[in-house]
């Protein structure tokens, strides 16, 4: 018989070891999955995890790694603040879209005027767009006690429709020969979020992600505000006793997540994507939730988890291309990662005893 015995103090060792264990378990379970699909498991795992970094065309893929990891890390850092406080913002995808729309709107209005102020102004507007979109569930929760989970999630679909309307309507490229989508900001020097170092994929969004990691580390693990946020997530009554005002906490938790997601949208639309189209959003906002948990809601963990998730994205694409794996199999594979992480989490708080324990 297997029994779980609660640890009096959470294990430091396992809180670091479980993410590694989860990755290994995912590789094994994923390998079995791929074998059932008739692919060679070891090769599939190699294509996903090894080839993008050290394979034949690795120089191209390594750049892609940062391009994909940047928004994931940036969004996850913001979400982690809310998650720590027990505020479940599931709508980062919508906030990401709104950040992109706000900043792209400014750029397209200014076009073709060149100015050094345009790009910083777009950054501010991007953050504002995401922030305001996140304030809708925040205000509703504070005033009426609505569930931020449902409201933020549903607002994703509202944002997607708004995105499509903008792409086909007000923001459509007047010189686009009727094709849907806005002007490409890559052709607008003042607004273009260009690569900082040629061939690395490093753009301003990646810099922002690194700053976000450092900032949220300082906030959550050094500053008293972060301490109170963590208390609120652990024990809401103790948080009130410590002087936390719940309404402000909700605003901060959702607001940070929204602003960071908005920023990610802004850097994406002005850089790698370049234009507003109806298929602009590719699920970064949702994947960032996995990244946040995979990184144990800790900024450094999120940095590593973001890189890992980006790797499975790129590797997954390659596996589809080279081995003909269905895209659903790749999604299952990514889902397994979160599943195993949550499962192994038990080890942090519990000890496993084999055999009979005197009951």
């Amino acid at each position: 018989m297997i029994t779980l015995v609660r640890r009096p103090t959470p294990s430091q060792f396992w809180s670091y070891a479980t993410p590694l264990l989860a990755v290994i378990a995912t590789m094994i379970a994923g390998g079995i999955l791929f074998a059932i699909l008739g692919k060679h498991p070891v090769e599939a795992i190699r294509v996903i995890f090894w080839d993008p970094l050290f394979g034949g065309n690795a120089s191209y893929f390594r750049g892609q790694l940062l391009v994909k990891a940047g928004p994931l890390i940036l969004i996850a850092c913001g979400l982690a603040v809310g998650f720590r406080a027990g505020i479940w913002n599931i709508g980062a995808e919508g906030q990401y879209i709104m950040g992109a729309l706000f900043s792209a709107w400014l750029a397209l209005k200014m076009y073709p005027a060149e100015s050094h102020w345009l790009f910083p102004a777009m950054i501010v507007l991007g953050a504002l767009g995401g922030f305001l979109w996140a304030m809708i569930p925040a205000v509703l929760k504070v005033l009426f006690g609505t569930s931020e989970i449902l409201v933020s999630l549903m607002l994703v679909y509202v944002a997607e429709n708004l995105l499509a309307y903008m792409a086909f309507g007000p923001l459509k490229n007047p010189e686009g020969f009727g094709f849907p989508g806005s002007r490409n900001l890559q052709d607008y020097p003042s607004a273009f979020n260009h690569e900082l170092i040629e061939g690395t994929g490093m753009h301003w969004g990646v810099v922002a992600a690194l700053i976000a990691v450092i900032f949220s580390y300082g906030l959550m693990h050094r500053h008293i505000t972060g301490f109170r946020i963590r208390v609120a997530g652990e024990a809401p009554r103790a948080a009130r006793f410590a002087g936390v005002i719940p309404a402000r906490l909700v605003m901060l938790g959702l607001g940070m997540g929204g602003a960071f997601a908005g920023l990610a949208g802004m850097f994406e639309v002005s850089g790698p994507s370049g234009q507003i189209t109806d298929s602009f959003n590719v699920g970064y906002g949702f994947t960032a939730i996995i990244v946040a948990f995979l990184g144990r809601l800790h900024p450094i963990g999120i940095l590593l988890a973001g890189l890992l998730m980006a790797l499975t994205y790129i590797g997954g694409d390659m596996a589809q291309l080279m081995l003909g794996l269905p895209s659903a199999a790749i999604q299952v594979f990514q889902g397994m990662l979160l599943f195993f992480l949550l499962a192994f989490d038990v080890l942090t708080n519990f000890r496993i005893r084999f055999g009979r324990v005197a009951a």
Binding site: V5, P8, T9, P10, G218, R222, H223, I224, T225, F227, R230, V231, E234, A235, R237, A238, R240, F241, A242, G243, I245, V357, A358
Partner: protein, 504 residues
């Protein structure tokens, strides 16, 4: 007379702790027998084995001359053992008769059952109206329902677990009448308590448990309460040292304070007023659930009240939150240790930061100074003799008494002008309780004002200068504790809550 219940060598071990180690004692028919011991001494495990809730690892029980090993409570009840638990298992939305019927194997028709309830309850001096909703009953009346439910089974042995903790002194008096009548009719009663005076008035025999073992059997009437306590604790009990205190100016003034309930069934606070002088300890007594939690929440600032209701040293602080009040010197320690006064999963150091940042230099420009926080935590651990491997340990790993010492120590060491504590020694062993009381007295001797909210009247008599009763959200006018009798306190606590004893 032969024994009704005879227990020999009963042992029960849980992982890491032997709850009962070779326990043996016996109860005669009609005897009121006390089971005495501190929290965690093994009283609950022992009675759970008698009632068939827990299976012993070894040892034998005999009941009415026959070998007795109940597989479940149903078997125990069939043999003639009944139990009234400390926490009632009643449905508030059902009436008395329906609640009683739910606990029976083959309930008779409602009308007949109601008649039986009326008969039995009046016969034993516990009148009950079978048609009333349990949700409308006071704690004392709810206990009656539980007792009557047991009496309907015509038990030979009635086990009562801490029955008086929810009662006022008058209600206790009524209960004792009933128990004596039962005993006179030959029903044995196994009475679990740590209230020594009660046991000395009620019981003829006592078995004292310490750390799972029987340490003494005696007739409690031949011992003083102090002797019993020392047997229970296994050490000489330190008497709290109540130094002469000089009263200063009024530091805290509450006037006309009203507050809506915290929860659906909670009471509201109604027009509360009090004055507290420097160096004074005000004891606020009352059965839990009469507004104690609400009073603490509004004084601590978690639930600020209307302007002009609370003032500290002449300054209106009604609108301030907990940290604003801390900065001005009003500190509090709530009743619930895990999840309110402390965060269970966080370390003691982090729990020091929880309330310590306003009065101790634990932050610099808003950033937490881990070194200073650890020093403060170690200081609390040292000064209050908190038994823990270190300040890095999670709060939930500490025993109740140790965590309570930590929580009280954290506030005391911040040199408050006013400290409000709710149930400061609830669930705490006697030695820790004594040291907590001493800490509160020492704090007052240094010139701070203390409000102690507690259900334990002995405790309040021991430490407070004045006494007030909190009953259904109303606070009585305060009276000096010196010369206050237990009857007077009982009347202040609402007497028998409208309950009456039937003429028997």
């Amino acid at each position: 007379m032969t024994e009704l219940l005879k227990i020999e060598g009963l042992t029960k071990a849980y992982p890491g702790v032997v709850a009962n180690d070779g326990v043996g004692f016996s109860v005669r028919p009609g005897e009121v027998h006390a089971l005495l011991g501190e929290n965690g001494a093994g009283k609950s495990t022992l009675v759970k084995m008698i009632y068939g809730l827990v299976k012993p690892d070894s040892g034998t029980m005999h009941f009415a001359g026959q070998s007795f090993a109940p597989a479940d409570p149903r078997a125990a009840r069939a043999a003639g053992v009944a139990m009234v638990f400390q926490h009632f298992s009643l449905f508030e939305a059902l009436n008395v008769a329906e609640n009683v019927a739910l606990g029976m194997e083959n309930p008779p028709p409602m009308r007949q059952l109601a008649k039986r309830i009326r008969e039995i309850s009046t016969a034993y001096g516990l009148p009950l109206d079978p048609a009333r909703l349990v949700g409308d009953l006071s704690a004392g009346e709810r206990q009656r329902v539980e007792i009557v439910r047991c009496l309907l089974q015509d038990p030979k042995l009635l086990i009562m677990d801490e029955p008086t903790s929810v009662l006022t002194p008058q209600e206790v008096e009524i209960l004792f009448h009933t128990l004596r009548k039962l005993s006179a009719e030959g029903t044995a009663i196994l009475y679990i308590s740590h209230k020594l005076e009660e046991i000395r008035t009620l019981c003829e025999g006592a078995t004292i448990l310490r750390a799972g073992k029987v340490v003494a059997s005696c007739n409690p009437r031949e011992k003083t309460a102090r002797e019993l306590a020392e047997l229970m604790v296994g050490a000489e009990l330190k008497v709290t040292d109540r130094a002469e205190r000089k009263l200063g100016d009024v530091v805290l003034k509450v006037s006309g304070l009203s507050l809506a309930p915290l929860s659906q069934f909670g009471p509201s606070l109604k027009d509360l007023s009090l004055e507290l002088r420097a160096g004074e300890v005000l004891g606020i007594g009352g059965v839990a659930g009469n507004g104690q939690e609400e009073l603490l929440a509004t004084l601590s600032g978690e639930r600020p009240s209307a302007p002009g209701t609370v003032s500290l040293m002449g300054e209106d602080i009604s609108g301030l939150g907990p940290n604003g009040r801390r900065a001005k010197g009003l500190l509090a320690a709530p009743e619930e240790r895990l999840g309110h006064a402390a965060v269970p999963a966080m370390s003691l150091t982090e729990n020091a930061i929880l309330t310590g940042t306003m009065r101790k230099p634990l932050t610099r420009n808003g950033f937490v100074d881990q070194g200073a926080a650890k020093t403060f935590a170690d200081e609390i651990i040292q000064a209050f003799d908190v038994r823990t491997p270190g300040s890095h340990v999670a709060a939930r790993a500490l025993s109740g008494g140790n965590l309570q010492k930590y929580v009280i120590g954290r506030e005391v060491l911040q040199n408050p002008a006013v400290l409000v504590v709710n149930q400061p020694t609830w669930g705490v062993d006697a030695a820790a309780a004594a040291s907590i009381r001493q800490a509160l007295l020492d704090l007052a001797a240094k010139g701070a004002a203390v409000i102690a909210i507690s259900q334990d009247l002995d405790e309040l008599m021991e430490i407070s200068d004045r006494f007030s009763a909190l009953n259904e959200g109303r606070l009585s006018a305060s009276r000096p504790t010196q010369g206050l009798t237990i009857e007077e306190i009982g009347m202040m606590l609402g007497g028998a809550h409208g309950m009456q004893e039937a003429a028997v």
